[in-house]
Symmetry: C2
Subunit: 477 residues, 2 copies
């Protein structure tokens, strides 16, 4: 799958794996610097140039530069571009990390939870209780919809914590949100569905899963009231909504829009897929209950342990309308992916000993404090900017003065060793773009002791990008 | 999805879930007896009748009768059929289990491992080491092909235990054999493949996964030398082989057939998918190494922890030819099913502390002893029968005298409360059927203390079926 590419402006060919372009570019550039094939002082092409040449997203190129800058292979000079570091060592030598140098790029991308405080001992204790207490029948192949014990515990938890209407027989356990989204889409496609509405900004990975299932997606505009569900009509068979906290704009779906989504589903027979990825994490007041409760037979609710616990747990769950239980189970049978029972029993024991709730409270406090830090830094140091999005979850927006280029901020951040993406990079296209420029700030990715440092870099990147635009410089000073 | 069905010959309608016919039939019959809607002494239709009426496999109906007989709701009278138990209680009463009555049907189906001796404490210790030792980066989303540490450990293990040619970068971790088979088939289909050869007897679940991927399957005859790989030609793009120990006939693929499979792949560019589900379990002599070693770029090797440890572990692995690493990873990305890292780290710790090898040795001794028990019982009590299949793995065949009906044995076994299937029930069709009648004996499903009892029932079922056929009675006496 490797293809040889010439890096524009350099006498360098790199092997790029078509399926993993960004990581192979990073690897190739690091190797070239380490081996001396790129001499210190060599100027690298602008990320825009490399992006269009190699067909890699501009954000991804910026991330590669950020990583290599953080590692010390590259350095950036304000307004002048990115260069091979002056101190990069000669042929064949492995570069020693500079004292105190960060070992990896800092990261403010959205959607990445902070796993550093994962309750390791409590999880180990739950794993122990699960395996020592397992009956022999629990050690065999998993029941079709998941462990009965975990399904009952989740039904209970979701009723209590998210206001979901759930009984054990409607709960299905899988590994990831994406797996459940894919199964649902394939079940819909098998039943004749053709199209699903998605929010105009969201995860490209989810849209990729939808397309692979054979459905097409249409974009629904998102404004300060969330996705415009009043535009839903018979052209789509389903809609994917982040109702509690839109990703990445951070707004909740307004009450009238919630009702409109449900009424559309009832009227058309369509399905609402509710991605409740961080519904537990409202910290200004009590969380809004799940949309699912308004119409349990028309809403497929999906939650995950990835945000509220850690991605490494590898468990997610759905509460499924009755008509879809058998079709989704059938899709899973042919996907061959029934979940691991021991891991499910561990989560069951973990929730049962109240450790899950405890962890959610801990994370909520952590994210709340990060949010407050961000707000005060922006108010003090970026007067033309404002933080928007609900006081909830693990991300928000920093809106930039009109005229600021999000891509420029991303590039300046990369030069400082920070991964930092603009709102527009989450756009699916197909709608008129009316959002002011904004950066998405994920609170979760940096470890606690480096969050302040990440915000420092973000502030500097925004200032540098604004400095290059006379229109915005005034706003920021 | 429920449909109402009339049970032939009875004044009873049952709700049958189209997707789970057998389990809903079992539930409906149990409820009807419990509620008194089927009076004691009522004769149930022959499983053959019910099978064709409801469109359920005859084996599945026999399994339902076996389960309900074991639970005491039904009883069987030799040669006369199956009846609602005379002692079944009246309206509304919950039937108490008879003293000493088995709580569930015994099971000799193939493909089910014995998990009763699962090393619970060692697994709990490995889970603890894994989670306490995890770096924060290990708690995030899984790397694309699985945990680097587990992949390295598996590469090492597979080289050592199965003679596989493996390096870390070719190892991919997933949850189940079926998941990896599905990903491989979808990657092949995306690359233009259309057809895959399968052994004429095998798991229907695997064939279902193949069909769902968009490939068609063609049957390859199986004889005492395994699958006839010399018949492979350009009409197929891949072949699925249980080379070490054919499932369910139990024969190894003969050396010339191994070479033929590899030569076909090299000549045609086709892919061999090696299902090495129980390759560790040869107990007469050292295991034959994996076929994959003959041509690592033409064979996709798949192994699983389900047989060598327990299905509840939920981990499986593949060693992938280079050209397929990226396509299979891409299929997994859109399936959204990257595996749970903590569970992978647990297996890594478990293998690293030699517990995996220890468990394989323990199971090998257990299966070996069960095999010897079976052989001596058959030699002593079923003189017209013989045990065939390699002294390996967790199943073999009991070949029946010519003219014995496998389906009759299955039905007689069901009346005794035993699940017991014939060779032909694993058949895919499309080949001329030349096998003598035989029952598949899985050693793994009954717990150790009930294996002898299961064999008792099997012997009785075979004798009863033979008694009903004058041609075979002589052979058995």
């Amino acid at each position: 799958m490797d293809e040889s590419w010439a890096i524009p402006g350099l006498d360098l060919h790199v092997e790029i794996d078509r399926e993993r372009k960004a990581s192979s570019l990073e690897h190739a550039l690091r190797s070239a610097v380490r081996a001396g094939r790129l001499a210190p002082g060599t100027r690298l092409p602008a990320s825009r140039t490399l992006s269009s040449d190699l067909g890699i997203a501009r954000n991804s190129v910026a991330d590669v530069y950020a990583q290599l800058t953080a590692e010390g292979w590259l350095e950036a000079r304000v307004g002048a571009g990115t260069w091979v570091s002056g101190s990069a060592v000669a042929h064949g030598a492995v570069r020693p990390a500079a004292p105190g140098a960060p070992s990896a790029a800092l990261d403010l991308r959205g959607g990445i939870p902070d796993a550093s405080g994962f309750p390791r001992r409590a999880w180990a204790a739950a794993a122990r209780r699960a395996v020592l207490g397992a009956a022999t029948s629990d050690l065999g192949y998993a029941p079709e919809l998941g462990s009965q014990a975990l399904r009952a515990t989740l039904a209970d938890y979701l009723v209590r914590a998210r206001g979901v209407v759930a009984t054990t027989d409607r709960v299905m356990v899988a590994h990831r949100f994406g797996e459940l989204l894919g199964l649902a889409c394939r079940a819909l496609a098998a039943g004749g569905a053709r199209s699903i509405a998605v929010e105009e900004v969201g995860h490209e990975a989810h849209r990729e899963i939808i397309r692979a299932s054979g459905l097409t997606h249409m974009a629904l505009p998102v404004d300060r009231d969330g996705a415009d569900t009043e535009r839903l009509d018979d052209r789509v068979d389903a809609v994917l909504l982040t109702a509690a906290h839109q990703f990445p704009t951070g707004v909740p779906l307004a009450p009238a829009r919630r009702v409109a989504a449900v009424q559309w589903a009832e009227r058309s027979g369509g399905l609402v897929i509710e991605d409740d990825y961080d519904g537990e994490f409202r910290y200004d007041r009590r969380a809004i209950g799940a949309l699912q409760a308004l119409a349990p037979e028309h809403v497929l609710y999906i939650g995950t342990a990835s945000k509220s616990l850690a991605p490494a747990v590898g468990l997610a769950w759905a509460v499924v309308p009755e008509r879809l239980v058998a079709p989704i189970a059938a899709e899973r049978r042919v996907a061959g992916t029934a979940a691991d029972v021991l891991n499910q029993h561990t989560l069951h024991a973990f929730i049962g000993s109240h450790e899950f709730d405890r962890n959610v409270r801990r994370l909520r406090a952590e994210y709340r404090s990060r949010r407050l830090t961000l707000e005060s830094r922006v108010a003090d140091e970026l007067p033309g900017c404002r933080v928007s999005g609900l006081a909830a979850g693990l991300h928000c927006l920093v809106e930039l003065p009109a005229g600021t280029s999000e891509a420029r901020v991303t590039e300046e951040a990369a030069r400082l060793g920070l991964r930092f993406h603009g709102l527009e990079s989450f756009r699916t296209g197909g709608t008129e773009w009316r959002h002011p420029p904004a950066m998405v700030v994920g609170y979760g990715a940096p470890p606690p002791h480096r969050f302040a440092e990440a915000i420092d870099l973000a502030v500097r990147a925004i200032r540098r990008a604004a400095d290059s635009s006379p229109a915005t410089t005034a706003a920021l000073r």
